[in-house]
């Protein structure tokens, strides 16, 4: 008898992936709750690492008719000292059954592992990119027209004359259409010729004329139209500007808060765009573009001029990130100090240069831990931005002083809302 060996190892894996997705979809609300809960206990750095979650089994159970109670008889192995007629005390109730996936009591939580992608998706699922300043660019894709050869049908405006004439010529040559010159020549010859020869020539001319009539100069089958295809042109790239005040008044704690916010924003953007660039601009009383490490840890000191950072961002946008090709996001973190004299310039830069080209501009005012920011008088920058917002500038702004507030604030900023609502309250 023949035996077959089949190597299945190279078969595409993830055969159960679809079942898994179905399961996650069904348990979505529950898993999402679990993800939120899990992420609260985590450091933001690991928040998106995936990992184990536990969900209650409610709604995920697979019920069967089961029996319980009544008299039970069982045969067991390993008798050591019992003899017939012995009475054994009952063990305390609640000896657990095995933990099958959901077949047992429904109070049991069901634990399983989510991959990083699944975790991130669920984590950010009810968030959405704000669609503020440039509605049409917020689409991840835009459409463009591309030439795509020729077609036999189309609108008259798109007739390609050169191609049509070329085809007509080829056809005429192939079918040997008599040229007008040839006919004229024969006619001239006939006019001069003697009788038998003359009628012969005239007959020839008549035949050629008839043939020329049968073979038109341009036939409908020659006509060609230019063909266009709409090609989706993805605006699949985004740039994220991180603006931060690094003047002496910003403590390590405040920088840490800002960093966490930037990280979330980065992960979030990364989900929507294939390519995300980050530009770090730090400023004191003058601004510079720096690398990440310098941005968070490099020492700097000086006064505070927010307008310098906005100006720097504006310059970078103009030189490197054409707003038509890039989705631009900006998040600014500051303790709120700014020179009073700078307010007018800052306001103008923001409303006239920055906001029109950005998708989203968030201002995060960071405070010291356990510092009751909300009881304190508003900072100068906050006051300024609030005024701008009240005048209609699409700004999102929040105050944060504790690590634990970062995620709620982030969620709040990007929460999915009704179309009409503004992302900022």
């Amino acid at each position: 008898m023949t035996m077959h060996i089949v190597d299945r190892r190279l078969n595409p894996g993830g055969k159960s992936l679809e079942n898994r997705q179905r399961f996650l979809r069904r348990a979505k609300a529950l898993v999402q709750g679990a993800v939120k809960k899990t992420s609260q206990d985590r450091d933001i750095k690991d928040v998106l690492e995936g990992g184990e979650v536990a969900i209650p089994l409610d709604g995920m159970d697979e019920p069967r008719f089961r029996r319980g109670g009544g008299t039970r008889d069982m045969v067991l192995p390993g008798n050591k000292k019992f003899i017939e007629g012995d009475i054994l005390p009952r063990p305390n109730q609640g000896g657990g059954r095995g933990t099958g996936p959901g077949e047992g009591d429904s109070e049991d939580a069901f634990r399983f592992v989510l991959s990083r992608d699944e975790f991130v998706n669920l984590f950010l699922d009810d968030l959405e990119l704000p669609d503020l300043a440039k509605r049409k660019l917020a689409e991840a894709e835009s459409e463009g027209l591309h030439r795509a050869g020729y077609t036999t049908s189309g609108s008259p405006a798109n007739i390609s004359v050169s191609r049509t004439v070329k085809l007509a010529l080829a056809r005429r040559v192939a079918l040997r259409r008599p040229r007008p010159e040839q006919i004229a020549e024969l006619e001239a010859e006939a006019a001069e010729a003697e009788e038998p020869r003359r009628s012969e020539l005239l007959a020839q001319v008549a035949a050629l004329k008839a043939k020329a009539k049968r073979i038109p100069f341009i036939d409908p089958i020659d006509i060609r139209y230019r063909r266009f295809e709409t090609v989706p042109k993805p605006v699949a790239q985004a740039v994220m500007f991180c603006l931060m005040d690094v003047s002496g008044s910003m403590s390590e704690h405040m920088k840490d808060l800002a960093k966490r916010f930037y990280m979330l924003l980065y992960v979030f953007l990364k989900r929507r765009y294939r390519h995300v660039e980050i530009v770090f601009i730090r400023h004191t009383d003058r601004a510079e573009e720096v690398d990440e490490d310098t941005f968070f840890h490099g020492p700097a000191s000086g006064g505070t001029l927010v307008s310098s950072a906005l100006q720097a961002m504006h310059d970078i946008v103009r030189t490197r990130f054409r707003p038509a090709d890039w989705n631009i996001y900006a998040a600014q973190a500051s303790d709120g100090d700014n020179m009073t004299s700078d307010s007018i310039l800052t306001g103008r830069l923001l409303t006239e240069q920055i906001l029109p080209v950005t998708q989203f501009f968030a201002y995060l005012e960071v405070g010291e831990a356990a510092n009751y920011t909300f009881d304190m008088p508003d900072s100068s920058l906050w006051t300024l931005y609030e005024r701008l917002r009240n005048e209609g500038a699409p700004l999102a702004m929040r105050k944060v002083s504790e690590r634990s507030e970062i995620f709620p604030v982030f969620q709040d900023l990007f929460k999915r809302r009704g179309k009409q609502e503004r992302a900022t309250p």
Binding site: G68, G70, P77, N79, E84, F112
Partner: protein
């Protein structure tokens, strides 16, 4: 006689040629020495992930999509990663050709063990046991699963995933009640039907005697009673195959929903023999691999080191913890099955007086494999234990029987132990533990109120005071009502027809029904 054969492999490594050699060597022993009769084999090498995949879709190589399989996969993956659970070394499918999955991580010794165990032990059992012969179609199952998968995904495209999911959820909830427990009457073809009717007429004519007309009959049945009876006959009631009943008679199901119920029902039926023969099936396979491995070692085709490796896995497989051991979770079918097979071997070859008294038919017959093959072909767990569990094995396993009556406040009574007075009772109780008639609650469709509100009536006959667990029962009945589209009533009655509890469930409005 011990032949010195060539080593099948050295060390732990193997390749496909090794597998082929191992298979051929096993086949030779299985056929010539054990007299096994198997389907052609197909061996598939898979990864751990694929093994998990197979686990979560009930071991089948292809199956339709459903969220519950995803749930099982997630659960199993989590416990596998944490190390709570090892993966089985193999999965084998009752089909022709018989497909055995081998994990790539296994060593050469393990692959040999698995081939002997699955490709010959299980394979022989599938092909020869009467339940499998009666209930499953090994040639057709893979094609059928292929069809089922295609059909269900086609339904999803056509009627929407939600609707299909609802129907499948409901069908799964009733899966254990979608089984015919007795082979139905074979449908007669028209010609035989006609012939039979003619014979019946001829018999009536020949037996006609006008005297019968004068015999007084009982009081005439009322019309209502007659129609009720007729209705029940027409609907084939009482009916314990609930899925079948719904498929045929539920008033508002779409044709595709009926087909989905049918698919689930067929699959449940396919697995029905497996659930009744766990001990025997594993016992057969374990006994087979034990014999084959020993023989291969005798022949010198497996080295001593590899044989020790085998013995270690074998010992783990047939380990039976005592009832008070924390590892105890019921009887290990491998352990009990293997112990009983070996015990039969002993009874056939070296019986004692006790065995002659208990097993006069087989004691001392000498032909071990002949007896075992008969046993493997003609029993299921319940009858196997009831027939072949010997007093000696009961003593060895130190079996005892506990009777737990909630009415008894003092505690649980030890009803019988492994002694002269207890053997038969212990054996009967253990056999009953494997009786599907006792394991599954006995629920039947008894009637439909066709003239009134079309409510469907079911009855659960409560045995030994063990009623349905309410939360689950309600959920299942909800599914049932959704399929039936009218109210469903389930009454629990004890053996004296006393009503213990009544459930009434109304259907939900489902998108599918709308």
């Amino acid at each position: 006689m011990t032949m010195i054969g060539e080593r099948l492999f050295d060390g732990a490594d193997w390749d496909f040629r090794t597998l082929q050699r191992v298979h051929d060597a096993c086949e030779e022993i299985a056929k010539s020495e054990l007299g096994l009769d198997v389907y052609p084999n197909q061996i598939e090498v898979i990864t751990a992930e694929q093994m998990l995949d197979a686990y979560s879709s009930v071991g089948m190589p292809l199956f339709y999509k459903h969220w519950s399989f995803g749930k099982h996969f997630a659960f199993q993956e989590a416990s596998y990663r944490k190390g709570y659970m090892g993966l089985a070394y193999e999965i084998v499918i009752n089909s022709s050709p018989c497909i055995s999955y081998l994990m790539e991580e296994n060593t050469a010794t393990m692959q040999t063990l698995v081939i002997a165990h699955a490709a010959f032990g299980h394979n022989h059992f599938f092909k020869n046991n009467y339940l499998f012969k009666q209930w499953t179609d090994a040639d057709g199952i893979l094609d059928y699963l292929e069809f089922a998968k295609g059909y269900i995904s086609h339904c999803e495209d056509r009627y929407g995933r939600r609707a299909v999911e609802h129907t499948l959820d409901a069908a799964h909830a009733l899966m254990s009640h979608g089984i015919d427990r007795y082979p139905g009457k074979k449908k007669l073809d028209l010609r035989t039907e006609e012939k039979r009717a003619g014979e019946r007429r001829a018999h009536e004519e020949s037996a006609f005697n006008d005297l019968w007309r004068t015999v007084p009959t009982g009081p005439a049945k009322t019309r209502a009673a007659l129609t009720a009876e007729r209705r029940r006959i027409l609907l084939g009631l009482p009916q314990e195959n609930i899925l079948y009943f719904l498929e045929k008679t539920a008033p508002r199901l779409q044709p595709w929903q009926r087909e989905v119920l049918r698919i689930v029902r067929h699959i449940a039926q396919y697995f029905y023999p497996q659930s009744q023969t766990k001990v025997m099936n594993e016992g057969t396979a374990t006994y087979t691999h034990y014999r084959i491995m020993n023989r291969l070692h005798d022949q010198g085709r497996i080295s001593d080191g590899n044989f020790l490796e085998f013995l270690q896995s074998h010992t783990n497989v047939v380990f039976q913890p005592d009832f008070d051991d924390p590892r105890f979770s019921g009887f290990n079918p491998y352990a009990l099955g293997f112990a009983m097979m070996q015990d039969i071997e002993r009874i056939v070859t070296e019986p004692e007086d006790e065995d002659r008294e208990w097993f006069p038919d087989i004691a001392g017959r000498g032909d071990v494999m002949g007896v075992l093959r008969e046993v493997w072909a003609n029993y299921r767990d319940e009858s196997f234990v009831g027939q072949f569990l010997s007093p000696r094995l009961m003593r060895r396993l130190r079996l005892f029987h506990l009777h737990d009556d909630p009415a008894e406040t003092a505690g649980i009574r030890v009803d019988a132990i492994h002694d002269e007075r207890g053997y038969r009772r212990v054996r009967r109780e253990l056999s009953r533990q494997y009786d599907v008639g006792f394991i599954d609650p006995n629920i039947e469709v008894i009637d439909v109120d066709l003239e009134g509100d079309r409510r469907l009536m079911l009855r659960h006959t409560v045995v030994k005071g063990s009623q349905l667990v309410e939360t689950d029962a309600r959920r299942v009945l909800q599914h049932l009502a959704d399929l039936w589209s009218y109210d469903v009533v389930l009454t629990e009655v004890d053996t004296h027809d006393k009503v213990l509890k009544e459930y009434v469930v109304s259907p939900r409005i489902l998108p599918a029904a709308a």
